[in-house]
Amino acid sequence: MDLTLKVWRQDGPGKPGEFKEYEAKGISPDSSFLEMLDVVNERLVEAGEVPIEFDHDCREGICGTCGVMINGHPHGDQKGTATCQLHMRRFSDGDRIVIEPWRATGMPVMRDLIVDRSPLDRIVEAGGYISVNTGGAPDANLIPVPKPAAESSMDAAACIGCAACIAACPNSAGQLFTSAKLAHLNLLPQGQPERYERTIAMVEKMEEFFGSCTNHGECEEACPKSISIDNIALMNRDYIVAKFKDRRKAGQT
């Protein structure tokens, strides 16, 4: 199939960028979206031009490295699909495809389609863990976890940290990412001791970088792992409880 690409090119952080057009001819419908970009890039190099830079790695939809705006949709318009798992059979011969990087003030463009997602690491560093040192953990079966809790925790833990949720949000809010990490840990018995401190720390760190949630729901729609916005409700609930609660005085409730 023959396609026309309109791609955002930007030489570096803080530099001006612009759209450029490229022809992508003779693309196999069985190839993935990133394989299509590989073909375009190899031809650019052959022509002595600088190829389009984009982030990618596992190409199995699990590492969360890839992700671009495709015709205005993060990861394209196929539900529950990361850019690397999107295949060209979703497009038609002659299509014109607009490819842009994630756009959010908290995630500046580093080059072409590559953005800086390190704020997500900062949010996890603020409290997205259970404070257990290596060694001395009790036997794993001493901590029974009800199956439904384990399942909901896993649903949230499936987040791949690609930041499509933030790119999709008109407010560039980081709620879906942050709430997924919180739900993963806060739903498990092991996560209870730090539940409320964790919630406050992560929410407040998130707000240093990203906008506020006003319930658009675009994040869930864009999520390649179909993470539910129910997690945001849980996070908001825990945040309010945390604000009322002083665990040093209230004890183990």
Binding site: V45, C58, R59, R117, D121, V124, I130, P146, A157, A158
Partner: protein, 639 residues
Amino acid sequence: MTTLDAKVPAGPIEDKWTNHRFDIKLVNPANKRKYEIIIIGTGLAGASAAATLGELGYNVKVFTYHDSPRRAHSIAAQGGINAAKNYPNDGDSIYRLFYDTVKGGDYRSREANVYRLAEVSNEIIDQCTAQGVPFAREYSGLLDNRSFGGAQVSRTFYARGQTGQQLLLGAYQALARQVSLGNVKLFNRSEMLEVVLHEGRAVGVVVRDLINGEISSHSAHAVVLATGGYSNVFFLSTMAMACNTTAIWRAHRKGAFFANPCFTQIHPTCIPVHDEFQSKLTLMSESLRNDGRIWVPVDPDDTRAANDIPESDRDYYLERIYPSFGNLAPRDVSSRAAMRMIDENRGVGPLKNGVYLDFADAINRLGKDVIEARYGNLFEMYERITDEDPYEVPMRIYPAPHYSMGGLWVDYNLMTNVPGLYAIGEANFSDHGANRLGASALMQGLADGYFVLPYTIADYLADWLNISPVPTDHEVFQEAEREVDGRMKRLLSINGTRTVDSFHRELGKIMIEYCGLARSKPGLEKALSQIPALRDEFWKNVRVTGTEDNYNSELQKANRVADFFELAELMCRDALEREESCGGHFRVEHQTEEGEAQRDDLNQAHVSAWEWKGYNVPQAHHREPLEFENVALAQRSYK
């Protein structure tokens, strides 16, 4: 040729690790903060080591070329992690896990290391559970297990089809905690391009910032490489696009011995290649073989659709040839069986390059819901790629390069032969012999990072108390920086006519043909004449566009492919030298009448470790003899 000493402690195998921990030197808690440790890589091994060393009080610097530590390719491991918990009460034990792993590795691993691995496996499950890894549960709330290839017990813990992801997130979160506490300093988008030695010891590294191309030096008391495997030498593999050999190859060029480079694993259950532009191969977890049945049509000319072929015209060849292990025969055995079917022209699919993995029986027996709960995400991934619904038609699978058992030679302490330089996880060679069993890579990565290296590194560090690391303005660092800079400039200045990928693709074709599933003397000799010619052409005719001082993925790739050429040559030389078939290394000259691998325990029960002797000079060959005191050497049988 010298004989290597692995420094395996004396005594009965059950006591070696316990005694060793008592015998080695310690660094007292107050002194730990006087030490600097550099860790390269943030996969399971690197992240767990960085977190644990940070918790202990060391000053740790950790480097990853990804934008975040969580992207490392451990994340893509699907099926599970082994441990000898014996929760299902089916007769498992540390000894059985040890035995299965040595046997699975076709008796080419070091007994003492494997026993230690089995010994700490249970602690890993405890640790990960405490961290909040959402392992699959029974309705009782207790942990669930499943089976994997090469074992007759259920010892595999899992988190749906995303076990690697969840374990890596556990380690990443532990690492994030240490970063926030200031014990670990994290450098993202930074690629290590040189190991720096001073007076024969590893004293630091040179890294390149991938965003702005800046080259900088970092010094430490010890350097730990946790940089994964090198199967991307085959171009198409299940590894992530960026996986490479550069870190361990640079170390090799500085004197670290490279062990068993030809031991690479071809994984039996991958989605077959569809066309020339394919960039990578996708694995379908081995756990699928718990419920899927593998077959091909009896008649090579059968053109009917899979579901129209009646039972009588199907050959469930694994169940037929290996009745006791059936569809759960180990990876090397299953891969070769699939290759034979395709060689007999009984392959399926448009290119006749696959075999069927059929879930119809399991769906009839258990219901679609149960299969969906077990493998839903894998089925979805398969459908995305092939546009076929595996609930309705059988999957098509084919063997593909996957894991590399070979790696840097390390002793029992996980230190290479270069003092102060360690290799952990897939980057070393030690635990899997000639074939890795399923669900053992995650176990080894975390064993090394959480429970082995944090003890053994103290034995080396203790001697360097109150001695500062070599400063980064020292001549050894300056020279290494100049070398790295020169190499980048050289790659950019060639300005030839061929792309990096075209070279890599061609190298991959040579390797898969002559050093893949089946290897022969004439084939390997042919590869050994083709690879240097291709490498020379690369250095004359590669075209790398862009500049040095900006994000430049072509330059990154070129630098990695340059090292793949040298590794490829060594792999072929190692495969040629090893006159036997074992595990993933199948020399057609050495097979039984039934076509199974034929080992030569008399002459080949050793680790081959290769020493760099200079560019275009063959490496020197050293051996570490393998002694089997606890497991009797036997022809591996899965029949």
